[in-house]
């Protein structure tokens, strides 16, 4: 690339362009939509975890004044196809997943019937007039019991195991034979409930004139949703338009195709009126995907000098009752990332995906990778404990060295670039580690409990090569320079909080020498931006930004041609410089970028063979994933009387390659670590023995508030990726991936002198109180 301008915006802490409208309530979310003639939909949900539907009597609801339509699963089974699962898993069992249950319900929250009424209150009242007779069946709640045998969530399958995914690399038996250090540990990633401030919402309108269905949805993936709705509703894809207006958080929970999206689309088409459905918070807890829920039994073989030689992992993924879009794929990412930052050569994994009568699990911030990193980083601490070597030193001894990149893992991945030791070195420059250890020893003398936790991570980002993903891994961008000089970027990566309107504007500003406010980022409307994959897997910058870079290069090339013509010079000699194009070495012989734009549209004086206009559409297909990395450290104090843990200090060293906007990267780390702290110390979805979700509201599910989070100290190293022209790797999930083991290693460290080797998440005060009092 012939970049001769000095980057000014890339790398600057530019304030987010989108924030003023978001924080002053001037933006439009799906639930804000009020279309003429709009009707309102509510869904009746199963109160039982597993039951046969003996009968449904909708007559009371239908007779309610203001009710327009009541449908059950049977009523819509012809019109709406099953919910999709996108995967490449051999032999996956795919029981039908209807938009409304037919004959049997399989989790608390499973949809049973839907009402459309003139207003939301009537729709809600009418739900209570639907009479459903249930015959309760035994609920399958415990994942180990479910894996071992009946009863079955889907009786017709004769098993709850939807798939097994065996993996073996190297000589695992050899590694364990005569290994001086052999350890066993059960490591659980408890079930989490994603919590976006904006609940899910869908609105739909059927344009009878154009035979076109328009869907507004709070989704991370408008384009994939368009394709799937076309299939489910039997409408040609070109007759479906999906719009993702402002999306108030997703964390993976909106990386899906949900029943209500198809249901509302169908009802709008059938009734000939716009229909809207907005999830209640209760539906947010029961009928939006959950995350994590993995149980791992790990065996570790290591040498006395702390080198990890082999691992055997039995991994059970609780799938919940059905597959959602990526449900079975998530734990396969766990398998891929188990080696972490380390040269593990011998690995055996037996993964089973198991149905239970619970809400389906799917992608939640990190999606399989926090699970993997929690396992491997706990393993490294277990080795440190068993060998008496400091945890940081154990990591140093197992790292891929800086000269190993591109580095192949035993799971078949190639880490693009990295320098793990450099990140640790920066951490140790930031923190006086030895002083912390001395302080810990002194506090222990006084009966105080202080722990220091360190965790490294490597994450798989920039998803990814199309061959490795179930539904395409490229990204598209259309760049249009309007005749006024306004630059419009149409991107397929539809953001939901990532700040792409700002970072993409920064990239454009530097490439074309225009102001940030001259750039407009269009996204989230499949008619306006026809192609794209979406924002997830830390891919917006690494893949979407890369497509933008390619389109910018086209526009720069064409601009140089036009400028060269206007300046009567060879385009090869024309350089971009702060909004001007001038001849190399002669800054006075220049035209403004606006002159070039005007010439492109006036078109009466263009060089031969150059078309009018100034625009480009490009697709970027990454050759590999990207692999950001880093190391986090935290200091945890535990109240010896109440068991309450508190995080005193949190230091993060992250390397996400080149950084477009450091402030936005900081924000991503802050949010990611917050979600990790939430999993480590507070949040857990709890089902009782009958499959009732007893943490089904914000009163019961402990989402932490800001006052429980420390002030983060953030540092960065920069190791660009060769995979894309920006050199950016992605950062959306790093904090979550590093944070869990970091916090939990500190918690375990705080009580390690009491003989404790592992503590399950969340490390609640009571768990720690038991450890402390049982020791007393």
């Amino acid at each position: 690339m012939a970049t001769t301008t000095v980057p000014k915006q890339i790398g600057a802490r530019v304030r987010r362009k989108e924030d003023p409208r978001l924080i002053t309530g001037a933006s439009t979310y799906t639930d804000d939509l009020k279309l003429p003639g709009m009707a309102y939909c509510t869904v009746l949900r199963s109160p039982h975890a597993h039951a046969r539907i003996a009968s449904i009597d909708t007559s009371g609801a239908e007779a309610t004044k203001g009710v327009l339509r009541v449908v059950t699963g049977r009523d819509v089974q012809e019109a709406i196809g099953g919910l999709p699962v996108a995967h490449k898993i051999e032999g996956l069992l795919e029981p039908p997943h209807r938009v409304l249950a037919i004959d049997e319900v399989r989790y608390v929250g499973d949809g049973v019937a839907a009402v459309v009424a003139e207003d939301p209150s009537t729709a809600r009242d009418a739900l209570e007039r639907i009479e459903v007779e249930y015959e309760e069946l035994e609920a399958v709640v415990d994942v180990e019991k479910a894996a071992a045998g009946g009863p079955f969530v889907h009786e017709e399958l004769g098993t709850n195991v939807a798939f097994t995914f065996p993996f073996e690399a190297g000589d695992v038996d050899g590694a364990f034979q005569d290994a001086p250090v052999v350890l066993r540990q059960r490591i659980v990633n408890q079930r989490q409930i994603p919590f976006a401030v904006e609940p899910r919402a869908v609105a739909a309108r059927f344009d009878r004139g154009h035979r076109k269905l328009e869907i507004w949805s709070s989704t991370q993936i408008p384009h994939l949703l368009r394709t799937q709705l076309s299939v489910m509703l039997g409408i040609p894809e070109h007759s479906v338009r999906v719009i993702a207006p402002e999306v108030g958080g997703g964390f993976g929970s909106k990386l899906n195709v949900y029943a209500e999206e198809a249901l509302v689309g169908h009802l709008a088409r059938e009734l000939g009126r716009p229909v809207k459905w907005t999830a209640t918070r209760t539906e947010g807890f029961q009928a939006t995907i959950h995350g994590r829920d993995q149980l791992a039994d790990v065996e570790i073989a290591a040498s006395e000098d702390g080198v990890l030689h082999g691992m055997r992992v039995k991994l059970l993924q609780d799938l919940g009752a059905y597959h959602q879009l990526l449900t079975p794929v998530i734990p396969t990412l766990t398998v891929l990332m188990l080696p972490g930052a380390y040269r593990l050569r011998n690995l055996q994994v037996e993964l089973k995906g198991v149905f239970t009568d619970k809400t389906p699990t799917d992608a939640y911030r990190g999606a399989g990778r926090p699970e993997a990193n929690f396992i491997i980083e706990r393993v490294l601490d277990l080795i440190a404990d068993a060998t008496g070597i400091d945890p940081i030193e154990v990591r140093r001894r197992n790292f891929f060295p800086a000269d190993a990149f591109p580095a192949d893992t035993c799971t078949g991945l190639t880490y693009d670039s990295g320098n793990y030791q450099a990140a640790v070195d920066l951490l140790l420059e930031t923190v006086d580690y030895d002083a912390l250890r001395r302080e810990q020893a002194q506090r222990r003398e006084r009966g105080e409990l202080m722990g220091i936790g360190v965790a490294c991570y490597v994450e798989i980002c920039g998803l990814g090569p199309s061959a490795a993903l179930p539904a395409g891994g490229w990204e598209a961008c259309t760049l249009e320079v309007r005749r006024t000089g306004r630059v419009v970027v149409k991107t397929g990566v539809s953001p939901h909080g990532q700040g792409e309107e700002t970072t993409f504007s920064q990239i454009v500003a530097d490439a074309l020498g225009v102001g940030l406010n001259d750039v407009e980022i269009a996204h989230g409307d499949t008619d306006y931006v026809p192609e794209g994959i979406g924002t997830f897997g830390s891919r917006a910058q690494a893949v979407g930004g890369a497509a933008l870079s390619m389109a910018l290069e086209d526009v720069r090339d064409k601009s140089r041609k036009i400028a060269g013509h206007l300046l009567e010079a060879d385009p090869e000699d024309v350089v971009f410089d702060e909004g001007k194009l001038h001849i190399r070495g002669a800054p006075d012989r220049a035209v403004g970028f606006q002159d070039v734009v005007t010439a492109a549209y006036m078109a009466d004086d263009l060089p031969e063979g150059v078309e009018p206009g100034l625009a480009s559409t490009r697709f970027f297909e990454p050759s590999n994933f990207t692999f950001p990395f880093g190391v986090h450290l935290c200091v945890v104090d535990i109240d010896p009387d109440t068991g309450e843990p508190s995080i005193r200090r949190y230091v993060a060293v992250d390397d996400c390659g080149n950084v477009i906007n450091p402030m936005i990267v900081d924000g991503q780390i802050h949010g990611g670590v917050a979600q990790a702290i939430a999993q480590s110390l507070y949040e857990q979805a709890v089902y009782d023995a009958d499959g009732q979700l007893v943490t089904g509201s914000l009163m019961d599910y402990a989402v932490p508030r800001a006052s429980y989070l420390p002030s983060y100290e953030l540092r960065r190293t920069t190791t660009p990726t060769p995979v894309n022209p920006l050199g950016a790797k992605g950062v959306g999930e790093a904090g979550t991936i590093a944070g869990n083991p970091c916090v939990m290693n500190a918690v375990v460290d705080a009580v390690s002198h009491l003989g404790i080797r592992h503590v399950d998440m969340p490390a609640t005060p009571e768990k720690l109180w038991r450890i402390i009092t049982e020791r007393d």
């Binding site: 009746l44 109160p47 709890v686 009732q692 089904g696 009163m699």
Partner: protein, 153 residues
């Protein structure tokens, strides 16, 4: 969400009298505020309603209650019931075993074990303690009512 109650209470009346009371649904219902019998399905099964009101919260369950076992010799009664929240958003299942034991001096000691399983709306709230407290309280009211009614004859 399951809760259990195990209680023992004593009354002055002899076991026969207590037995007659506790196996007569018409009389038992008098001591359950908010409850009423709607229909006798057969001699051991009844349809009814059970209202629960505590402060601002009100739930009405409609369903059936059944004497599963009436062992007069052993003075043991087993009952089970199931009901549906009239709003369709939850259900309750109950099982109760009572045993009467004669006391010296002619009175009766009544042992009761009851288990209650809630599904749906009420079970969604993790403050299981509240439901337990309410059940304990209602049970306390029931026993004092039974004691009073028996004394009245």
């Amino acid at each position: 969400m399951a809760i259990t109650i195990e209680k023992t209470f004593e009354v002055e009346q002899p076991p026969e009298e207590v037995w007659a009371f506790l196996t007569d649904p018409e009389r038992v219902v008098e001591c359950l505020p908010g409850a009423k019998l709607v229909e006798e399905v057969d001699e051991r099964t009844y349809r009814g309603e059970m209202g629960m009101k505590l402060g601002p919260i009100g739930v009405t369950f409609g369903g059936t209650i059944r004497f599963d076992r009436l062992d007069e010799k052993a003075r043991e009664v087993e009952m089970s019931g199931e009901g549906k929240d009239e709003k369709g958003s939850g259900s309750v299942k109950m099982h109760m075993r009572s045993r009467l034991e004669p006391m010296d001096g002619g009175g009766t000691r009544v042992h009761v074990e009851q288990s209650i399983n809630l599904a749906g709306r009420l079970a969604t709230f993790g403050r299981g303690g509240i439901v337990q407290n309410v059940a304990d309280f209602m049970f306390g009211r029931f026993t004092s009512c039974v004691t009073k009614k028996l004394a009245e004859g």
